[in-house]
């Protein structure tokens, strides 16, 4: 078999073990959980466990019990019960993550926060809203509509993904180019720690005292505790929004336009690119009038005040024409704008029209290296006989190469993982990073040494251990297991080694 890359090794080590996992006796755990939070919030059937053993990634783990808390006190009770019974736990929002961050390892108890879905308070004057973690991203922005505000991070899964998940992954989205990622839009977080205690990180004051533990928590992928209430920052809706569709015959003209727009001093609200294959599948779903014969299209959104936007539209036009654009279409109204975005937001799922499975990657490269890395991606995919589709946040260099395949083809997963490993390495070689917005989770955990030294990883683990010394919050994620010995005071890491029960 053809194997390269740590993930492939991880997967092959554990794939057979998973099938033969011993039936775990969870009856005591279930009994205690039922006593703590009620029978209707505890699910322990075989099929229930099966469903919650996976998120939107291709990874699968094993869960013991699924819990559906309604409030902070429920979460505290669950965490305490887990600890008392020697179980770890994994918080889960909508399960739309693509890096296996919510995949339970170690027979962890699932804490599904979907029922905690109240927008508790909207304070326009102070620019925040208190929300529970299960509130869906788009539901939040809809709830804020009457106030002329929205929540700026807008991952492509925004209709389905939860704010808790956004906090865990420090989610981005097309509009993060101008507005910044989740970290910049969270003021305070109420967290249930691994010991069951509740703490407030950050605050509603301008300059809360102490270390920025709030900033540390955002993007920590559920390994520092469970967020139970989140104060999100409200962003005023821009008075003017213009969406442009630029159509290029040559993909490299599209890529060149991306860096030229930024170099011309325009920071669009969003700047997205789709290659020819992506345009085809997106058009088949959305019927938005995307030019299916284009080599690449750019979706550019400009927002702000009227004159500034008008000037930026002209700059973008000028830059695009200098780079041989074939046509520039400016959406005439909100309906046309929504249609263009509908296509973009559903692009990943629409790829399933080409092949039944896809593996979506997420790396970032310097904008000026986009074309170079894209060509490399196609070359790698060709070599492994896979179909590569590219639709991504070009403005911040955030690549999302999609490898489309049919998992029923024998041996195809090895090729998919090997190609993925090469894509990650090509991105790092170009001066990029492992993940722009999907997170490390389980998927890229073992790639971490490609980007960080052992001292870096030991430092990260040291900070994590302050929050969760027993490693019971979403265990074995983010940091590879070899990094667990770096405590200055001589503590040893917890006993977890190779994750059991994860397979593709």
């Amino acid at each position: 078999m053809h194997r390269t890359g740590p993930i492939v090794e991880l997967v092959s080590t554990i794939s057979d073990a998973a099938e033969t996992i011993q039936q775990l006796d969870t009856s005591q755990l279930v009994k205690h959980l039922v006593a703590a939070i009620g029978a209707d919030s505890v699910k322990s059937g075989r099929l229930d466990q099966h469903l919650y053993a996976k998120d939107a990634s291709v990874l699968r783990g094993t869960s013991s019990v699924v819990t559906l808390p309604r409030c902070t006190a429920d979460v505290q009770a669950i965490v305490r019960t887990c600890t008392a019974n020697g179980f770890s736990f994994v918080a889960r929002g909508s399960g739309t993550g693509l890096a296996g961050g919510a995949v339970p390892l170690d027979n962890a108890v699932i804490i599904a926060t979907a029922r905690m879905n109240a927008v508790e308070e909207v304070d326009v004057e102070n620019g925040f809203a208190w929300v529970q973690p299960g509130v869906l991203n788009l539901d939040l922005s809809r709830a804020l509509l009457p106030y002329g505000r929205h929540f700026a991070p807008d991952p492509s899964s925004q209709q389905a993904c939860s704010i808790g998940g956004n906090v865990a992954n420090n989610s981005g989205g097309p509009h993060c180019l101008a507005y910044g990622v989740t970290s910049a839009h969270v003021l305070a977080i109420e967290v249930v720690m691994a010991d069951g205690e509740t703490v407030m990180l950050g605050g509603l004051d301008a300059e809360p005292s102490g270390y920025d533990l709030r900033g540390l928590f955002v993007g920590s992928e559920g390994t520092l505790g469970v967020a139970t209430r989140i104060a999100v920052r409200l962003t005023p809706n821009p008075p003017i929004v213009k969406t442009l569709l630029l159509d290029f015959v040559q993909p490299n003209d599209g890529a060149a336009t991306v860096s030229s727009i930024i170099a011309a001093g325009v920071v669009p609200a969003a700047l997205e690119m789709m290659d020819q294959r992506a345009v085809e599948v997106v058009e088949a779903f959305a019927n938005a009038g995307y030019p299916t014969d284009a080599g690449a299209v750019l979706l550019v959104e400009l927002d702000g005040m009227a004159d500034g936007v008008a000037a930026d539209v002209e700059t973008v036009r000028r830059v695009a024409h200098a780079n041989s654009v074939r046509s520039v279409r400016v959406a005439a109204d909100d309906a046309e704008r929504d249609l263009l975005w509908k296509g973009r937001r559903n692009a990943f799922g629409a790829v399933a029209r080409l092949k039944p499975d896809y593996y979506l990657h997420d790396t970032v490269v310097p904008r000026t290296k986009l074309q170079e890395v894209l060509e490399k991606v196609y070359e790698i995919a060709d070599r492994y006989e896979l179909l590569a589709v590219n639709v991504f946040h070009a403005g911040d260099g955030n690549l999302h190469p999609i490898l489309a395949y049919d998992s029923r083809e024998p041996g195809v997963m090895d090729r998919v993982h090997a190609a993925g490993a090469e894509i990650v390495k090509a991105s790092l070689d170009a001066g990029g990073v492992l993940s722009g917005e999907h997170g490390i989770g389980l998927e890229k955990r073992d790639y971490m040494p490609l980007m960080f030294t052992s001292a870096d990883l030991a430092e990260q683990d040291r900070v994590r251990s302050v929050f969760d010394p027993a490693d019971s919050a979403n265990p074995m994620k983010v940091i590879p297991s070899g990094s667990r010995c770096g405590d200055f005071a001589g503590h040893t890491g917890s006993g977890h080694t190779i994750p059991e029960g994860a397979w593709v």
């Binding site: 029922r115 299960g134 779903f285 039944p356």
Partner: protein, 393 residues
């Protein structure tokens, strides 16, 4: 509910392998699923149900929880509209239910009998009249959500062969006023109308949804037999229209496929005569009534022609769209009777959405939705009733 199964059972779902493989579990369907919205559990979501179909197909072993999770689906098809991958969820769910009905106690005899009974309008009308009398005597529990049933019904007479009005089963027994309104409008447009009546008794949609494929095919065959000719078939029940438009796949005959192309939802039919409707409406009042329009799932997510309802109402009232992206109201044919709690929780969201429009009247183009929403205390009219009332004025 079905008779409970203890332990596990062997089952062959027989689902199409490509269909099963087509879900990439992205989760974009979750917020568009009414039962997921209410329960927030993966088991109540399209993604979850497909994963369970996959797992049970793989192992060949099911249990009662599998039956319950499959039975909880309202089959609104909101997920199909939302799915970027084009997963054929509806046909997978129907096939799964059919396998469960054939191989397990999923549809016990009393339920099968009930669906058989619904498919025979003459019996249904007789029984309905009895039920109507019982209602007047307050002997029918109101939580069943039944509308006030008519003891007698106005007669419908065929006047020609320009267009066929499909009358169906439940609709004809309980809501003949809607048929009367439909005929009035068509005649006002100068058309001669043929009433399908007992020539083509029942489309079999409810039976299909319940996994009773045999009954559904028998009903479909009767309708194909009864509706020969070339005239357009106008349907004022969104669910029946969707079923008639799927007869080709259900029966697999050329005759059935040919019938599909003659079927029009009544609004889809009227929208082709919008100018004539405008003429009937005359000058628009400055103070036209605002009416909230609830899009039945079988129009919005299956027939995908829900905007026609808004278009044909527009000359007469101000149609107001809801802001819930066509999330199901919870009626789901017989669903609201089988799962009253879930159906009413789902309805609460719809009532909230309607409340946000500030309208006091709701237009709904499907009998199941009409009854279910009326059961929630709303003033619900079929769009053709609103139009007919305006014309009659």
């Amino acid at each position: 509910m079905s008779d409970s199964v203890t332990g596990t059972f062997n089952i062959a779902l027989g689902l199409d392998a490509d269909s099963l493989a087509s879900c990439v579990s992205c989760g974009l369907c979750l917020p568009h699923c009414p039962t997921y919205r209410v329960s927030t559990e993966e088991m109540s979501s399209p993604r979850g149900r497909i994963a369970l179909m996959n797992e049970v197909s793989r192992t060949g072993v099911g249990d009662q929880s599998f039956i319950d999770y499959m039975d909880e689906c309202i089959q609104c098809m909101g997920c199909e509209t939302a799915c970027p991958a084009g997963v054929p969820y509806g046909s997978m769910m129907e096939a799964t239910r059919e396998a469960l009905a054939e191989q397990t106690g999923y549809q016990p005899r009393w339920r099968r009998s009930g669906f058989w009974f619904l498919g025979h309008p003459r019996l249904l009308r007789g029984a309905s009249s009895i039920l109507a009398v019982l209602q007047r005597l307050h002997l029918v529990p109101s939580r069943l959500g039944l509308p006030k049933l008519p003891i007698t019904r106005p007669r419908l007479r065929s006047t020609g062969e320009d267009v066929i009005v499909f009358t169906g089963c439940v609709m004809d027994a309980w809501m003949r006023d809607v048929h009367v309104a439909t005929v009035e409008i068509l005649e006002a447009l100068g058309l001669k109308v043929h009433i399908s009546g007992d020539e083509a008794p029942c489309c079999g949609a409810l039976q299909s949804h319940a996994g009773l494929g045999g009954q559904a095919r028998a009903r479909a065959a009767e309708v194909v037999m009864g509706l020969k000719g070339t005239a357009s078939i106008v349907v004022n029940s969104a669910g029946c229209g969707a079923q008639l438009k799927n007869f080709g796949a259900i029966l697999g005959t050329a005759e059935a496929a040919a019938l599909e192309s003659r079927v029009f939802d009544v609004h889809e039919f009227l929208v082709t005569r919008l100018d004539d409707l405008e003429a009937l409406a005359g000058e628009r009042d400055a103070e036209r009534q605002r009416v909230a329009v609830q899009d039945p799932c079988h129009l919005r997510h299956v027939q995908r022609n829900h905007l026609d309802v808004h278009a044909v109402l527009e000359p007469f009232v101000v149609p107001v769209s809801l802001d819930d992206e066509g999330l199901c109201c919870g009626a789901g044919g017989a669903y609201s009777v089988m799962h009253p709690d879930t159906a009413s929780s789902v309805r609460d969201r719809k009532i909230d959405a309607i409340g946000r429009t500030g309208c006091s009247m709701v237009a709904s183009a499907n009998p199941g939705c009409m009854m279910h929403l009326a059961g929630g205390g709303l003033d619900v009219r079929h769009p053709v009733e609103i139009i007919a009332a305006s014309i009659g004025r």
